[in-house]
Subunit: 195 residues, 2 copies
């Protein structure tokens, strides 16, 4: 019913996660109202994303050069490697300003249901670099897939002389005990510390 | 924290209505995973939107030619004009397959708070074409702004020898009386018909 050009743009917006036809319609109609300059900026940004963005050859994090900003930073402690699922997690941790080691991005998690095997992940390059490390912090999400991956990595690293740690699980700050699920409560009790 | 290219794309996605930084981040990261072809399709669609989409010179609806598909359709009853706020409403009504007249898109509603005056809307071209019409159906939304606009149009058209009608308001199909607001109930009672 819409002109073909508009239908095509609606279809493009529907590629986005969680965007159905109604939302895609809204997005596309809004684009018509935007001025030339903003559309051009959008087009340029989309073009650049395919040409300029690469993965850091050391840690797999997203970057514009051969190595990412963290790996290039000489002040970071290269002996501490924090393993995460995706580049998004790196951003989240960087925002804390509390971590001064380096990262390793797995680009996924081991998953039986999705058929993702260890060899599909960025694990080989982790093994290549751990020999110089003192600690590997496994910070995959505390989900079934995240736990599986964490256990797998721990087993893999156990043969080497490196301290492998897992981030703490428990009640989130500002959270309420009565809203927490059983598993979180168990983890919170297990992980209790002397005050 | 993200590479600049990515930040730029995130900013672009944040132009979309209801999209905050977290969602824009998700959208942008997904774009990296998409293959070349899909990105090119997206870029082409965005380019076309500015060059190919125009407003129908008769009714103001969005189209790729001088006149929209409805206005060009010779089987449509040109003596019945349905007035709506935007092209989105045209699509919604066309989906019913029950309306066989033509449309007129106001491209907005009179609004005191937003400072939108009657002269900012596509009203002049409506007055130019109503002389040949038999009925003008006002189908602006039943909101404060929609009602104001409807009343304004009714007054404007009262001097001419045309039947001006307003779409019915009441309980939506599948709706529940106990969930309906007072105004809707009043409208539903007022608009009651013999069974």
């Amino acid at each position: 019913m819409y002109p073909e050009t508009l239908t095509k743009l609606i279809d493009c917006f529907m590629m986005l996660p969680g965007v159905g036809s109604k939302t895609a319609e809204r997005y596309a109609l809004l684009m018509i109202e935007k001025d030339e300059e903003e559309i051009t900026r959008f087009i340029e940004a989309l073009k650049d994303i395919k040409t300029k963005i690469h993965e850091c050859k050391i840690c797999g994090n997203l970057c514009e050069d051969e190595e990412c900003l963290v790996c290039r930073d000489k002040t970071r402690n290269k002996k501490q490697i924090l393993v995460v699922q995706s580049s998004k997690d790196v951003i989240a941790l960087e925002k804390t300003l509390e971590y001064h080691g380096v990262y390793h991005v797995l680009k996924g998690l081991i998953s039986q249901t999705k058929g993702i095997l260890p060899e599909d992940l960025n694990i080989k390059s982790l093994l290549d670099r751990v020999d110089d490390a003192e600690e590997v912090i496994i910070a995959t999400n505390p989900t079934l897939e995240g736990e599986t991956t964490a256990l797998y990595l721990d087993k893999l690293l156990s043969s080497k002389n490196i301290l492998t740690t897992r981030i703490a699980h428990g009640i989130p700050m500002g959270g309420h005990l009565d809203y927490a699920d059983e598993l979180t409560l168990i983890k919170a009790l297990e992980g209790r510390k002397k005050m």
